[in-house]
């Protein structure tokens, strides 16, 4: 033990191969410094403390410390605000050993700059463009008059039934967005469904209760209901206070909605939006008051509880499709078709990749041929996000 400390003390060497370069894919004002670890960097933190990084404007000038990297690190991003794009800098990496410190040779000059494209995100760009292109193409075709089909979605046909039965029993309808915010996509899908439910309610003169968790969703929902009532020719039925804000606390909200169900005894309940753990509290209470329940959510964790406790459940994407189904205007149908085609392409791609991968595994195992394996690996690597 003493001997090894002695040897390390003697051999304490600076980090080798220090390189400084402009940090790639960034907005400038950042330089990356890399090095190979000092031989003293053995993982023993009593013997080796880490690296200090020094920067200067001139190779011989005054170097000032710009950062510290822990033992074991081989990279440091110097993104201190005083770095000017275009200005040349020099770097030294200092290893802090038990006996003192050792400086590397000077690296540089190097200047930082901003990039115009983040090359690590080519795959994201490609897939985003692919989806966008398909969607826009089908929207155009739909506008041009192509008839596009949407398959039947079970829960949606039940809407009319549920509102009708509730009316017969003289009971109100309850609609909840769960814990959705207005800037989330499912909330917008839910607004479409609410519009339809509100139309039906206006038609049957049934009271519609919509308790809220988020004030912005409340505003949008109030407007939606008001508009649907107006379109159905019953603006007189609308009462803003039937869709009150309760609280922005998850279980405060659940307690409030439960109480509302126990006292108002709705005949039909719609759970459409994003739900967390309160899903089952709500759905079980809904069941105990004997309401028909139609749920729809994209929160995969909660779908099982709705499936178990409700009469109908729109599973995940079905909720988005529902908003297209209910408002079958060409643009919505077109985008749904584009989405489906993307899905089809993903499926074909997955199947193709599986064939390629299998061929790769078999050919390298039985024939020692690695070409297909390498190709498959490259395909997989293309999907790296970092």
């Amino acid at each position: 033990m003493f001997q090894s400390i002695f040897i390390l003390g003697l051999l304490a060497q600076p980090p080798a191969n220090v390189a400084a370069f402009d940090t790639p894919n960034d907005e400038g004002s950042s330089i990356t410094v890399t090095w190979e670890p000092s031989p003293a960097d053995s993982g023993n933190l009593f013997l080796f403390r880490g690296y200090e990084i020094y920067r200067s404007d001139t190779p011989t000038g005054e170097f000032k410390c710009v950062g510290f990297a822990a033992a074991g690190a081989t990279r440091f991003d110097d993104s201190n605000t005083d770095i000017q794009d275009g200005q040349e800098y020099f770097y030294v990496v200092r290893a802090l050993t038990s006996s003192g410190h050792e400086d590397s040779p000077v690296a540089g000059p190097v200047a930082s700059s901003a990039q115009w494209f983040n090359t690590q995100r080519v795959n994201v760009l490609a897939i985003t463009l692919l989806i966008s292109a398909l969607v826009i193409y089908y929207i155009r075709r739909a506008r041009a008059g192509d008839r596009l089909f949407v398959r039947k979605i079970a829960g949606l046909d039940a809407i009319e039934d549920a509102v009708g039965r509730s009316t017969e029993m003289g009971k109100p309808i309850l609609y909840s967005f769960g814990l959705s915010y207005l800037n989330e996509v499912w909330t917008l899908a839910s607004l479409s469904i609410l519009h339809r439910v509100a139309e039906k309610c206006a038609e049957y003169s049934t009271r519609l209760l919509v308790p809220h968790y988020d004030p912005l969703v409340m505003s949008a929902a109030q407007e939606t209901v008001k508009q649907a009532y107006a379109e159905a020719g019953r603006p007189d039925l609308y009462d803003e206070r039937d869709s009150p804000f309760l609280t922005a606390d998850q279980f405060g909200y659940a307690a409030g909605v439960d109480g509302m169900m126990m006292r108002e005894r709705p005949g039909a309940v719609f759970w459409q939006g994003y739900f967390y753990a309160e899903s089952l509290i709500l759905a079980e209470t809904g069941h105990s008051v004997g309401a028909i329940q139609i749920a729809g959510t994209t929160s995969v964790e909660q779908i099982p509880f709705f499936v178990v406790a409700c009469d109908y459940t729109l599973i995940g994407e079905e909720m988005y499709a529902a908003s297209c189904y209910l408002r079958p205007d060409p643009q919505m149908l077109g985008s749904l078709k584009g989405e489906d085609l993307t899905k089809a392409m993903i499926l074909v791609f997955l199947a193709g990749a599986a064939v390629l991968g299998t061929a790769g595994v078999l050919s390298s195992h039985f024939f020692d041929y690695n070409g297909l394996n390498v190709l498959f690996e490259n395909v997989v690597q293309w999907f790296n996000t970092f």
């Binding site: 894919n25 996509v185 949008a220 279980f251 753990a277 995940g316 994407e317």
Partner: protein, 210 residues
């Protein structure tokens, strides 16, 4: 004009966030960062809307003597209590979150037990819904039942006491078929989300502007 300006705002902000994702060069990153900060500020103002609605709803209940109107007093009392203690603690300790403050006292002895108990109701509800719904009525329902039973046993020590295969089966169910199903649903959901975002940015989806 009433309709176009909001659509233009949505398009510009949405498109900027997409651009800033791909182009690191200034000014996009700075602009996006500024917008994100603004967004956080704007979100804060929604509390006024919420408060307004909650108070109006309960005041109406009280003045019109709707069923259960007495309880609206409890609600408004709770609201006032927290607001008063909150600002009082703020004034006294310079932050409402000083653990000795009256505000934190109400947090710990009122909000925490209420939240926790409300959540704990789930233990009962999940048992009754499992009992009611897990009937082997159809082939699919039977699958649901069996998978649930294996995982329920596999995740607790007693499962391993019965047979050391149970935790392994349960882990396999979670890691393989469960994972495949979730991934299938989620890829669909996220694709739907991407397309919906696209529709919003392009101004096709405008339900939020009704």
């Amino acid at each position: 004009m009433k309709r176009d300006i909001p659509l233009i705002i949505t398009f510009l902000t949405g498109f900027l966030c997409v651009i800033a994702f791909f182009i690191p060069h200034p000014p996009f990153g700075d602009l996006q960062q500024r917008f994100l900060v603004w967004y956080a500020i704007v979100a804060g103002f929604t509390m006024i809307l919420g408060l307004d609605s909650l108070v109006k709803y309960n005041v109406k209940k009280i003045t019109q003597h709707k069923p259960g109107w007495q309880y609206s007093y409890v609600l408004l009392f709770g609201l006032a209590l927290v607001l008063v203690t909150g600002f009082q603690s703020w004034f006294k300790y310079n932050t409402p979150f000083e653990l000795r403050s009256s505000f934190m006292y109400s947090y710990i002895h009122i909000i925490v037990p209420l939240q926790a108990t409300m959540f704990a109701l789930l233990a009962f509800f999940i048992s009754s819904s499992a009992y009611r719904a897990f009937r082997a009525r159809t082939f699919e329902a039977t699958l649901l039942l069996i998978a649930a039973a294996i995982v329920m046993l596999g995740r607790v020590p007693i499962g391993e006491m019965i047979s050391d295969k149970i935790p392994l089966r349960s882990d396999w169910l979670l890691n393989v078929p469960q994972l495949a199903a979730k991934r299938g649903i989620q890829v669909g959901v996220y694709l739907g989300g991407v397309v919906m975002s696209l529709r919003i940015i392009l101004g096709i989806e405008r339900t939020y502007l009704t």
